[in-house]
């Protein structure tokens, strides 16, 4: 079965399924069931794909399950798919989250309004296809195509189905992303000219380990990095996210923040570090500073928010700071921690957005000051929100703790100062989560809402898998770590670190030496 095109199949199921959903007849009433079925089928195929993946397999190649076909040979573009441990886990995260989101979005768009329900669910499936594609692409140009293509369904999901301020939010999102995309396009073309060229000149493997003159490499690095930093998003190019998150439907926010934004951090590992190792080392101090600033400022902004969805969006900016910190600290521990964090954050944010939305939908307001005492109105929803929040503040025993801890101690090996300053985010996380919970759930029971129903069966099916994921990844993250670590080690080899941190305590000095050397 090794020749079976697993990844293409995985990509095509939601793509064709999404188109199919859009084309269902107008009077058809089971649009949602069909869409959910397609996403579950994708999930099953995704799991089967994971079983094809061999730990430590792949031989000399970085990727497994590869499929390479010539696409536009004149431009050196190939249709090339393949996965390593990092992309596999990100794809699995996507295919797990999409059915949950569809279930959570069940009541978002009523049937009968000019096929709007068709469009809504079709867009989410198509977005899933693009997400799988962007993580599986092993051709830089193809990655870029997916990277930009993802914007289309998200733009419509926000712009057509979002809240009252959706138009501005969608435009801000699109402008930011296009700006990043354009800069990246320049860099994508630029890196091609540094490579061997030819019909498969855009393949990542042909663009890794190039000899590029210092300043060109740095320019290309910056081109990619800005696009990814906007995507991730890092402070100060983050402001599209709170707008988008507060206006988008919660299910859209989950896919946007939980998966799409990971393309940013994924890209930093796959492209910035792998293709431009020297430039990465040169930029590390600046990136680290911005990562720490993201952690602290994101958290401070979260504390200052009244809008629940914006608050959750800002917590993500803080968490992305941790992820970037771990990536650029280039130790096995920190980077494995970061990649695990990418998975964990997907689940945590999904839970926060979706459970928060359950409250918003019941109360009819996103302002946390409009709540109070809801622990006594809807105990299950409020309790789940607390569990999700505890995962967000990285309580040991839940998923985020493992990854946050790995990032902190791994970063400390090379960059103790950044690690210690970043650790202050731990205190701030307790503040933003607990203050939010206090305003929403504690206080006297609001009598006027006392008849509000607690969690429905459908909502339980939304929450249960997420909390199960918290516990499994909190207590037994080993299977995921085993998948991630070899991929991280490969990346670290490209960067030129052996991966053992404590011996590299002088890495920053080495890095500056190297760059000076290559200047000559």
């Amino acid at each position: 079965m090794t020749d079976f095109p697993w990844l293409t199949t995985l990509l095509l199921i939601p793509a064709i399924g999404g188109a199919g959903v859009a084309l269902l007849p107008k009077g058809f009433e089971r649009v949602r069931e069909v869409a959910l079925g397609i996403s579950l089928l994708t999930l099953v195929v995704g799991i089967l794909t994971a079983f094809q993946f061999e730990l430590g397999g792949g031989g000399d190649s970085q990727f497994q399950l590869t499929e390479v076909y010539s696409w536009i040979p004149q431009f050196g573009v190939s249709y090339a798919l393949g996965i390593d441990g990092i992309s596999l886990t990100m794809i699995l995260l996507s295919v797990v989250l999409v059915p949950i989101c569809l279930l959570a979005a069940w009541e978002d768009v009523p049937l009968g309004h000019a096929r709007r329900q068709h469009g809504y669910f079709a867009l989410m499936l198509i977005l899933e296809a693009f997400m799988i594609g962007v993580f599986a692409a092993t051709d830089v140009f193809m990655f870029y195509v997916f990277f930009e293509a993802m914007l289309i369904p998200v733009y419509f999901l926000i712009g057509s189905f979002g809240g009252p301020g959706r138009a501005k939010a969608a435009t801000t999102f699109l402008l930011y992303s296009l700006l990043g995309g354009l800069i990246m396009l320049v860099a994508v073309i630029g890196v091609y000219f540094q490579g061997p060229g030819g019909a498969d000149g855009f393949l990542i493997e042909n663009l890794t380990g190039l000899e590029i003159s210092t300043w060109i490499e740095r320019a290309l690095f910056v081109g990619f990095f800005i696009a990814f930093a906007i995507k991730a998003p890092m402070w100060p190019v983050h402001t599209w996210l709170p707008h988008a998150a507060s206006e988008a439907r919660p299910a859209t926010s989950v896919l946007l923040v939980g998966v799409l934004d990971k393309v940013g951090t994924f890209g930093m590992i796959r492209f910035c570090l792998q293709m431009f190792p020297d430039a990465s080392r040169w930029a590390t101090p600046v990136v680290m500073v911005f990562a720490v600033l993201s952690i602290l400022i994101g958290a401070a902004l979260a504390i200052g928010q009244r809008d629940m969805m914006r608050l959750i969006a800002y917590t993500s900016i803080s968490h992305f700071g941790f992820i970037v910190l771990g990536i650029f600290a280039v130790t096995t521990v920190s980077q494995t921690g970061s990649t695990l964090y990418m998975v964990n954050h997907g689940f945590t944010t999904a839970a926060l957005f979706l459970i928060g939305a359950m409250l918003v939908q019941r109360r009819g307001s996103q302002d946390i000051f409009d709540f109070g005492g809801w622990q006594r109105v809807t105990p299950l929803v409020a309790g789940s929100l607390l569990v999700a929040g505890l995962s967000g503040l990285a309580l040991p025993g839940l998923n985020s703790f493992v990854s946050e801890f790995m990032v902190i101690i791994g970063t400390y090996q090379n960059y103790p100062v950044y690690a210690v300053v970043g650790t202050m985010g731990v205190i701030l996380a307790a503040l933003y989560i607990l203050l939010m919970y206090q305003k929403i759930a504690t206080g006297p029971k609001p009598q006027e809402w006392s008849a509000t129903p607690d969690m429905s069966l459908r909502e339980k099916f939304v929450v249960a898998p997420l909390i199960a994921a918290f516990l499994v990844l909190g207590f037994y993250p080993k299977p995921v770590l085993d998948v991630l670590e070899p991929a991280v080690d490969t990346t670290l080899q490209y960067v030129g670190v052996s991966g053992s941190g404590s011996d590299e305590a002088s890495a920053p000095d080495d890095a500056s030496d190297t760059t000076e050397g290559s200047d000559d």
């Binding site: 004149q74 431009f75 801000t172 402008l175 700006l179 060229g197 100060p236 402001t239 599209w240 400022i297 401070a300 902004l301 504390i303 200052g304 130790t331 096995t332 521990v333 921690g337 622990q375 006594r376 309790g383 040991p396 025993g397 493992v402 801890f405 790995m406 902190i408 101690i409 791994g410 400390y412 090996q413 103790p416 690690a419 210690v420 650790t423 202050m424 731990v426 205190i427 307790a430 503040l431 607990l434 203050l435 206090q438 759930a441 504690t442 206080g443 006297p444 029971k445 207590f475 037994y476 993250p477 080993k478 770590l481 670590e485 080690d489 991966g499 053992s500 941190g501 404590s502 305590a505």
Partner: protein, 622 residues
């Protein structure tokens, strides 16, 4: 042992209303079962020779990546098992007590779920074989504490108290996390055996850093200066919680942490000095604050701080002090839990009042509570041959020993410990007299009554322990025989003043303190409203301005930073930058609109140019 209460918590939380009927009883049973298992292990280990008295139970491979390989495992040695006994025995008694105390609470099930969760987390904390797993329990008890302080969070103040406890603890946790980062960076491991075995290879600076960072963690959890502010507010929780978590067990976790890390502290006298200073400041601080509080539970909380200060002082004294710290920790667990349960019993009979100025002469109405509380008071003030006398006097004597690190130390630390013992006698007797003696000052609509048996029996058991446990454990050599394999046996040099003099002085101070309290609160009537008092009294009532300090120097600036960042984000980053971009884009699109002339020839021209560019590009590429 851990799994049972954890299971209980899970069943009660997930099972929902279905478990309302049998839930609380099940929680109690599981807690006792946990105790039984612990006792079984102790009996098994006690039969072994000292050096074999430790069981390692590897559980599973937890986190591994690169050189980081952490497995979850348990370590059952005399130190951890001593805690297991304290936690499960006192914990189970308090479970029983809660059956009576919480009988009429509609959320009883949730309460017992949290109690079970706490027992499980506390057991993880003491049984962990690595700093990381210890940290899981550490934050787990913090969570249970947060949930239980805020149990009645329909009162916004109580919800704030819960938040405060968690957040102040998080500051300490940062210390612990950073300590782990330092250890990992230097030793590549976090399990106790490796870290403690290789601690000698660390440099002095590293050891000092680790020692102080661990101390920061200990300060948070054990409410030691400067992170003590949360404990007073934590009294918002139901009283059994105050007894179990905020007196007997969780708050002593900091002492456990330092005692467990003895291999590190033994190598770094400077960090140990830090521990001693923190302990001394807190023991004095708590004693002073305790004198001025009129709220029964807050006075007890101040006393807890002070007593834990004694334990901290003792562990800071190094090998000479470990045994006594743990000894005091155990006896304190009994007498302080007993007194808190007594306080709960008083509140139960007095419509949940806590202001002692509204009490008085309760000895007539609540005989059992009066006697059991009295036993606790006698123990804590150190009346000879009670539990507290054994454990506290040893700490004071040890503090007077000159360990050759500066002649001023025994005088300062020993002197403070000795004087504070006198203050302890004053505030405890004051508290006792105000509550149980003097004229009745309660309102007419209150009908004080004795509590049911589920509450009084645990109080009686703890009272017996308060009196007799010390004599049972120490002079018989049981405790030292049991713990020596962990701490090693140290011969104690003579203190700077003879032991007998210290004992006599302590006794005289006890009489002075108690006598003064008698004169002030028994011979004179206690006014129902507090007199204004001197500046010192006012300061002590306000916890020596700690909250004002936090408000002015931490919360206000913090709020300011949040406000400024939020405003900057809105107006500068988002408003300025993005609004300008958006403006530029709309200008650009107006410009582009002009190209949409509607003339077919200009469209054709554009297409031609475009095609030419593509063709050119293809040619260039090839």
């Amino acid at each position: 042992m851990i799994a049972l209460p954890l299971l209980g918590a899970a069943i009660l939380l997930v099972g929902g209303k279905a478990t309302d009927t049998f839930g609380p009883m099940m929680a109690v049973a599981l807690s006792w079962a946990s105790f039984a298992i612990g006792l079984g292990v102790i009996i098994q280990l006690a039969g072994m020779p000292g050096e074999d008295r430790a069981l390692s139970v590897p559980l599973w491979d937890w986190i591994s990546a690169g050189e980081l390989s952490l497995s979850a495992g348990l370590l059952l040695d005399p130190l951890s098992l001593t805690f297991v006994m304290l936690i499960t025995f006192v914990g189970s008694l308090i479970h029983v007590y809660s059956l009576g105390y919480m009988e009429h609470d509609p959320d009883k099930r949730r309460f017992f779920a949290y109690l079970n969760l706490f027992i499980a987390a506390m057991l993880i904390l003491v049984l962990a074989d690595s700093y990381l797993l210890l940290f899981v329990g550490w934050e787990g008890v913090g969570l249970a504490s947060y949930l239980l302080i805020g149990f009645w969070n329909h009162n916004p103040e109580f919800a704030s108290a819960a938040n405060k406890a968690f957040i102040v603890n998080r500051i300490g946790d940062v210390g612990l996390i950073t300590a782990m980062a330092v250890l990992f960076a230097n030793l590549g491991a976090l399990d106790f055996s490796t870290v403690h075995g290789e601690a000698e290879t660390l440099g002095q600076g590293t050891l000092l850093a680790v020692g102080l960072l661990l101390l920061l963690g200990a300060c948070g959890k054990s409410a030691q200066f400067p992170l003590q502010s949360w404990l007073g507010d934590a009294m918002a929780g139901p009283t059994p919680v105050s007894a179990l978590i905020h007196a007997a067990t969780m708050v002593t976790a900091g002492v456990y942490l330092v005692a467990r890390s003895q291999a590190i502290y033994d190598l770094t006298p400077d960090a140990r000095l830090g521990v001693v200073i923190v302990g001394t400041i807190t023991l004095v601080y708590g004693a002073i604050v305790g004198c001025a509080k009129d709220d029964l539970k807050k006075a007890l909380a101040a006393s807890t701080m002070s007593q834990i200060g004694y334990m901290m002082l003792a562990v800071g004294l190094g090998p000479l002090g470990y045994l006594y710290a743990i000894f005091h920790l155990v006896t304190h667990g009994f007498f302080k839990a007993g007194m808190f349960l007594g306080a709960g019993s008083v509140m139960h009979g007095m419509n949940d009042q806590v202001n002692m100025r509204g009490f008085g002469n309760l000895s007539a109405k609540m005989k059992t509570t009066w006697i059991t509380f009295g036993a606790g008071v006698v123990a804590i003030i150190g009346v000879p041959f009670t539990s507290g006398w054994y454990s506290k006097d040893f700490i004071i004597e040890t503090a007077f020993i000159d360990q050759g690190e500066g002649a001023w130390r025994p005088w300062v630390f020993g002197g403070a410990a000795l004087l504070a013992a006198g203050v302890t006698a004053f505030y405890m007797v004051r508290l006792f007299l105000m509550t149980f003696h003097g004229k009745a000052r309660w309102a007419d609509d209150v009908d004080p009554h004795e509590s049911p048996l589920t509450m009084t029996v645990p109080m009686i058991i703890l009272a017996v322990g308060s009196i007799a446990l010390g004599a049972l454990l120490y002079p018989t050599g049981i405790l030292s025989g049991w713990l020596d394999p962990v701490f090693g046996h140290e011969e104690h040099p003579e203190p700077v003043i003879p032991v007998i003099v210290i004992q006599v002085l302590a006794f005289i101070l006890l009489l002075l303190g108690a006598g003064l309290a008698y004169l002030m609160y028994q011979r004179k009537d206690v006014p129902k409203t507090a007199p204004e008092g001197t500046f010192v009294t006012q300061a002590a009532r306000r916890d020596l301005f700690q909250d004002d300090f936090n408000e002015i120097f931490l919360r206000k600036p913090g709020q300011g930073i949040v406000d400024i960042t939020s405003a900057a984000d809105r107006d500068v980053v988002d408003g300025g930058l993005v609004a300008k971009t958006a403006g530029a884009v709309s200008a650009l699109s107006s410009a582009l609109r002009k190209t949409q002339t509607g003339f077919a020839r200009s469209y054709a021209m554009t297409m031609l140019i475009g095609t030419a560019v593509i063709v050119l590009a293809v040619l260039v590429m090839q």
